[in-house]
Symmetry: C2
Subunit: 336 residues, 2 copies
């Protein structure tokens, strides 16, 4: 099947780029050194490729992702790297009871109590390493670990995401800051004394700089986006949104992809061969270069600025080699 | 059922506010003077409420929306207010062949040829009235209408969306600009001499200012968002995203709704009782006011900045009266 037969907008994944990205990561961080984050692609078929590359443990962001991964037979070691409470935590416990291995992040007595009530048996202590989001202060980690154990939970170790660092373009600054973050996390890890010694952290932007974590939670590396593309990483842009030119005016053209096809928090997507003017709900208006698409019916491959919220808009992704669609994968982990 | 039992993030629609909005619009623009745009809510059950309010014709943005509306028995008069070409235009023709009335926007010979090839029988000439997006120059409309008729199509009239005007906060400026846009459209309408005399235009921001169009294509008015909320319109905020506080730190709290729960092109959503710091993929970090949510497990109702791309992330919306869920409607028109 040719991409020409696809209804647009449609997610395309370049098979060669994906294979390259998975291979580069598996070489840098083989096996359990890497715990791929499925939130970036929300696709069990893609996760299966990551398993084939040697990574059996996965990071999830939602209970739905944990459920879907377990149902797909990818539940050997699922870390839900977010806090969850009632009512959804009971669904997490149900997955654990079904035989998958489920670990959840906790950062307070309340989330520890929720894990216990929900039937989850293993946790990591989530530590704030500088990003004002979830995670307890490093000095609290030991106390929370003791509390979790007193409630009957197994404490596998710590987690601390340097999310404020992973996107910094200057590599030297990124390296310096990640070290500071990880010093905080290692102090907490010593206090927690995790049963599995887990120190889970990192992302695509720090996968090779964060040498303190025992495992890296990168997700974007598989598909990439223009935001991470600025960092000079060895990963290739695998993801595009295929769109069709539906209108041509004097000075601009319009393609049929818009705000419901792209996560917009990192700004406009990019059109190779054109300059983007703006995104509307269903449309992308851009000025084509001299060699750019100029006729109604022309197809363009638009590069998202941020992979995660882009993929979450789409039902499926098409694995392509050039113009040939070789497989179609459902984005089966989306929604809640 | 109580909203407390809902897994978050979840779309809530305040039943009173929705009923108010539909009633206000039906009074201002009764019956066929209003052609509700379903792209804003993507929900046939909500469209059914708009039909009950007296509007039997609908505006759609995608072929999928046309298919879904027709399948739901809401296909008396569906205007796809965007250009479409092969291959998806054939699906549009199939809906028309099934007995629904389908009209599509065209703005070029190529889109007219596509409509013919796809089996669509009725069109409107889409005219550019100032927004650099789709639509032919006003001076071209008559020529395109003649071409469409020569290809056997019925030309119902013209369409021209003043999308660059609808969001302007100063009502006087908005009024002045919409008049200029509509003068362009009326000139084109005269040249086109539509068989049904349709002059379709407008949006929520100009529904009462655009007195030149024969019908208004407003969509956002039913659910509203903070962007349109700045315009002082008589419509109430009906849509919120219910979220759960999962982490509390010294100075900020984190709720479980993020970039995959909100369209972000109009900026951050708003938390009543708090100041938003930033949105992450799955999280909203905000500083609560003194009276704001402070405990893990607290629920917050977050107001989206832009309704359309927010709804498109969600599988369903819950109609609520206070804390009671009275109905749950699938967002059945999303995807492509």
């Amino acid at each position: 099947m040719s991409v020409d037969a696809l209804v647009t907008p449609a997610l395309l994944v370049d098979a060669d780029a994906l294979a390259h990205n998975l291979a580069v990561m598996a070489q840098a961080l083989p096996g359990a050194r890497m715990r791929p984050h499925v939130k970036a692609h929300k696709c069990t078929e893609l996760a299966r490729q990551q398993l084939a590359a040697g990574h059996a443990g996965f990071t999830c962001a939602t209970v739905r992702e944990v459920e879907g991964m377990a149902a797909a037979g990818l539940g050997d070691d699922l870390l839900l790297a977010n806090e969850v409470v009632a009512p959804v935590v009971a669904r997490l416990g149900a997955v654990a009871a079904s035989g998958a291995r489920v670990t959840v992040a906790v950062d307070s007595e309340a989330t520890i109590d929720a894990a216990v009530a929900g039937g989850v048996r293993e946790v990591v202590i989530d530590v704030n390493v500088g990003l004002p989001r979830c995670g307890c202060p490093p000095s609290e980690a030991g106390r929370l670990a003791a509390y979790a154990r007193s409630r009957g939970l197994r404490v596998r170790g710590v987690m601390g995401y340097e999310g404020h660092v992973v996107g910094i373009e200057a590599r030297g600054v990124r390296a310096e800051l990640v070290e500071g973050c990880m010093q905080l996390l290692l102090h907490a890890a010593a206090d927690v004394d995790g049963d599995d010694g887990l120190v889970s952290a990192g992302g695509t932007g720090t996968y090779d700089l964060n040498t303190w974590a025992t495992e890296i939670q990168a997700g974007s590396y598989a598909l990439m986006d223009t935001a991470y593309g600025k960092l000079g990483l060895p990963f290739r842009q695998a993801l595009t949104v295929l769109a069709t030119v539906v209108s041509v005016s004097d000075g601009w053209v319009v393609a049929d992809c818009g705000l419901k096809a792209f996560g917009m928090d990192h700004g406009n997507p990019t059109v190779p061969g054109g300059t983007v003017w703006f995104c509307s709900d269903e449309h992308l208006t851009f000025a084509p270069d001299a060699a750019g698409p100029m006729r109604v019916g022309d197809r363009v491959r638009v590069v998202p600025a941020h992979v995660d919220p882009t993929v979450a808009y789409h039902e499926r992704m098409h694995l392509v080699e050039g113009d040939a669609v070789i497989e179609t994968w459902p984005v089966d982990l989306r929604n809640w």
